[in-house]
């Protein structure tokens, strides 16, 4: 690849910024992406609708699962754009085989739910790797930026869902005043019409957000390769080399010897000029809704004269005044659209109007907002508070009891049964790994010149005896010194001395490469059966 022909400027970017690079690429090349996307989507719909036209939601589900196939079209166009080649629908069809050859089946089956799908898609589609090679490459790439790849996938879901919700809300908001169509109610009882509507909304949301997700992943991929392979460095170095070549050419061509220090040409980075918009219009912020002029009824009877009436009577009287006195009369005029059939409109219009303004139920004045749910929510919050406070106290008391359980004389929890490790300090200490006669086998090894193996055999034989017959508890990570200290409580005086000697000899050989003399080795072998030969 020639850096000069690249469709983007390589830099070492942070991962989130790299995802934005993908979006910038998409913005620059959205036309060919849209064409290829439309072709793929049309193809899929033509394939699916004859079979699934009774259940449009299944069409949506299948399309959603087949997204990795749609992604390949987007990535194809963007990758061509990055390497400086335009991509038309015909190019896509012409490259059909190479686009789909590698990893499509895996992408549609076991890699479908991969959390970094768009980040590693180029590995199979553009680099053509599969199997172990794919996994190795994907691991190298996702070592950096993998977290962002995951966040990108999550935000992809969120954007698709939110956009779909937004479109449904938009349709609801566009219903004419007076219409009683409740779009959201469709979820309770999705009829075929609503299912088609959902299919449309889903396609729209996917079309808007899926290319964004693929482009973000591609941006991450490009940036990671820039980091790993120094694409930005190559670009800078090539510019430098080209400038030097020019300098040398001039120096050679001119009779005068030019001072090499003079930079001949400043390579200018191609950065688009920003639009200067320092004086943005500053409209005054909207003020909140004005409180309407609501007459506050004041029906309280004056309690000064006479004895106080009983409450009930007072309330009834107030109610009467409120209802009868014109001063407290409250009328509200509500105008809504309605529809009277004239018999002359075409049938489709008639059915649409019937749908929008269902005639059966007369328009009711809107009920005052029911705030009961807030009260319930509030009670719930108070309950949560109580539970948190009481639960926290309870947990604290339990923790106190646990923390000071030895002072309270509670039985301590028994430690889990100890299991002997298979190897200590890298030496296999399973009894079945030892020969029947350890000293004899060791002597043979020593005579063959394998002093290290011979001593190792003696040493691990001793350890096996200690661990398996004398119940010495040591972890697999214990060093020779640890073993020596641990052995003190498990051996009588004679064997303890032998173990001390054996350990010292082994350490000198293992770490200082200092082999024992023949006599010293024989002495060890002779002492071994008495000290550690518990095994018959």
């Amino acid at each position: 690849m020639k850096p000069g022909t690249m469709g983007f400027i390589p830099r070492t970017r942070a991962a989130m910024e790299a995802a934005d690079l993908g979006l910038s690429l998409l913005q620059a090349h959205w036309r060919p992406v849209a064409r290829v996307w439309g072709l793929q989507l049309g193809f899929l719909l033509a394939l699916l609708l004859p079979f699934l036209h009774q259940t449009p939601l299944w069409v949506l589900a299948v399309l959603w699962w087949l997204k990795p196939w749609l992604d390949r079209g987007v990535l194809f166009v963007l990758s061509r754009a990055v390497f400086g080649q335009p991509a038309s629908v015909w190019d896509f069809l012409g490259e059909w085989r190479s686009v789909h050859r590698r990893g499509l089946v895996a992408g549609l089956l076991w890699r479908r739910l991969s959390p970094m799908r768009s980040y590693v898609l180029p590995v199979s589609q553009l680099e053509g790797l599969r199997g172990a090679g794919y996994r190795r490459r994907a691991r190298v790439l996702t070592r950096k930026g993998g977290g962002t790849g995951f966040l990108l996938t999550c935000s992809g879901w969120a954007f698709t869902l939110l956009t779909a919700v937004g479109f449904i809300a938009l349709v609801q908001a566009m219903m004419p005043a007076g219409s009683r169509v409740q779009v959201w109610d469709g979820f309770n009882n999705p009829g075929p019409g609503f299912q088609w509507f959902l299919l449309g909304v889903g396609l729209l949301a996917l079309t808007l957000t899926e290319p964004l997700f693929v482009a973000g992943g591609f941006g991450l991929y490009l940036n990671r390769r820039t980091h790993l392979e120094g694409w930005d460095l190559e670009l800078a170095f090539r510019r430098l080399a080209a400038r030097l070549a020019l300098v040398l050419l001039l120096a050679w061509a001119m009779p005068l010897r030019l001072a090499a220090q003079a930079p001949v040409q400043e390579p200018t980075a191609q950065v688009p000029a920003p639009e200067a918009s320092d004086d943005a219009p500053q409209p005054t912020p909207q003020t909140g809704p004005q409180p309407g002029p609501q007459p506050e009824p004041q029906p309280a009877p004056r309690p000064a004269d006479g004895p106080l009436r009983p409450d009930e009577e007072a309330r009834q009287r107030a109610q009467r005044i409120l209802e009868q006195d014109p001063a407290f009369k409250h009328t509200k005029e509500v105008r809504t659209l309605s529809y009277e059939p004239t018999g002359r409109e075409p049938r489709w219009l008639r059915s649409l109007l019937d749908y929008l303004f269902a005639k059966e139920e007369p328009a009711q004045p809107s009920k005052p907002q029911n705030l009961d749910f807030l009260k319930r929510m509030w009670d719930l919050l108070a309950l949560v508070g109580k539970v948190v406070v009481v639960g926290g106290l309870l947990a604290f008391v339990l923790w106190l009891v646990y923390r000071f359980r030895h002072r309270l004389g509670l039985p301590l929890v028994e430690a889990k049964a100890w299991e002997a490790p298979e190897a200590v300090a890298g030496l296999d200490i399973r009894p079945e790994s030892l020969p029947p006669d350890v000293p004899e086998a060791a002597r043979n090894l020593f005579l063959r010149g394998e002093a290290r193996a011979a001593l190792a055999l003696l040493y691990r034989g001793a350890l096996a005896e200690l661990v398996h017959r004398r119940a010495m508890e040591i972890p697999a990570s214990a060093t020779e010194g640890d073993c020596l200290r641990a052995a003190e409580g498990h051996l009588e005086e004679g064997p303890a001395g032998a173990f001390h000697l054996l350990t010292g000899t082994w350490q000198r050989l293992a770490y200082k490469n200092e082999a024992p003399t023949r006599d010293a080795f024989e002495a060890l072998c002779d002492a071994w059966p008495a000290a550690f030969g518990g095994r018959p």
Binding site: L233, L240, V271, P272, Q282, P285, L381
Partner: protein, 228 residues
């Protein structure tokens, strides 16, 4: 077609170039998510405390909800150097589109206009606006003249691999010098073959190829960094 870049260069009247890197929808979504999580966690704790006051507490809590939703971002943006907690987490910052720090006016406008960006219910207008503008601005940003940008990483002294300092045979521009320094700093992360390939490009400067070329470029980096 111009190559695509994420950096916008702005020149101040003093002739200084500022490099701004507008932040796209993914980073901003997560910043918003973190902010909302923080705000609602705080509101929940406040609600638990206020629940003991009964209906009065409910009223106070609603006032708190109003203030938190409308003024939390404004306060944090203006007093926190353009960064709410979520933006801090995601390394974002709000600036005026000419690179100056944001003030009360633009911050108030951009946050009040969330009403518009939030239409028709799930920030669809905001998302579409970000996708359609080159600098990823939602309507509130366009009206207030602001930008959300990625923070620049702090500059640190480079760790250069040990090499014998070597004076370049030609005078180099600032850009070329920094490219050589960047090569030296990143060479431990490059494969040997790729390092040599890159150094070979500089053959006219170093006069050698392969491992010798790499050594020469590393030496020049040492020299440029001040090793003599």
């Amino acid at each position: 077609m111009q190559p695509v870049d994420t950096v916008r260069t702005i020149e101040t009247p003093e002739g200084i170039e500022l490099h701004l890197r507008p932040a796209g929808p993914v980073a901003r979504f997560w910043a918003f998510f973190v902010d909302q999580a923080v705000v609602w966690m705080g509101l929940m704790f406040a609600g638990i405390a206020l629940a003991f006051l009964g209906p009065l507490g409910l009223g106070l809590w609603f006032i708190l909800v109003f203030l938190a939703q409308w003024l939390y971002p404004v306060f944090f943006e203006v007093l926190g150097g353009g960064r709410t907690l979520g933006k801090r987490w995601l390394n974002l910052r709000v600036l005026r589109s000419d690179g100056r720090p944001i003030g009360w006016g633009p911050s108030l406008i951009r946050n009040l206009l969330r009403v518009v960006d939030g239409l028709p219910g799930a920030y669809t207008v905001g998302l579409v606006s970000i996708l359609l503008t080159r600098d990823f601005q939602r309507i509130g940003d366009i009206v207030a003249g602001t930008l959300v940008v990625h923070e620049e990483a702090g500059v640190q002294a480079p760790h250069l691999p040990a090499a014998e300092p070597l004076a370049p045979t030609r005078a180099l521009t600032l850009e070329e010098q920094s490219a050589i320094l960047a090569f030296a700093e990143r060479s431990p992360g490059l494969t040997v073959a790729r390092s040599e390939e890159l150094a070979d490009v500089l053959g006219p400067l170093t006069g050698s190829r392969g491992a010798g070329g790499v050594k020469a470029v590393l030496g020049m980096a040492r020299y440029l960094w001040g090793g003599r």
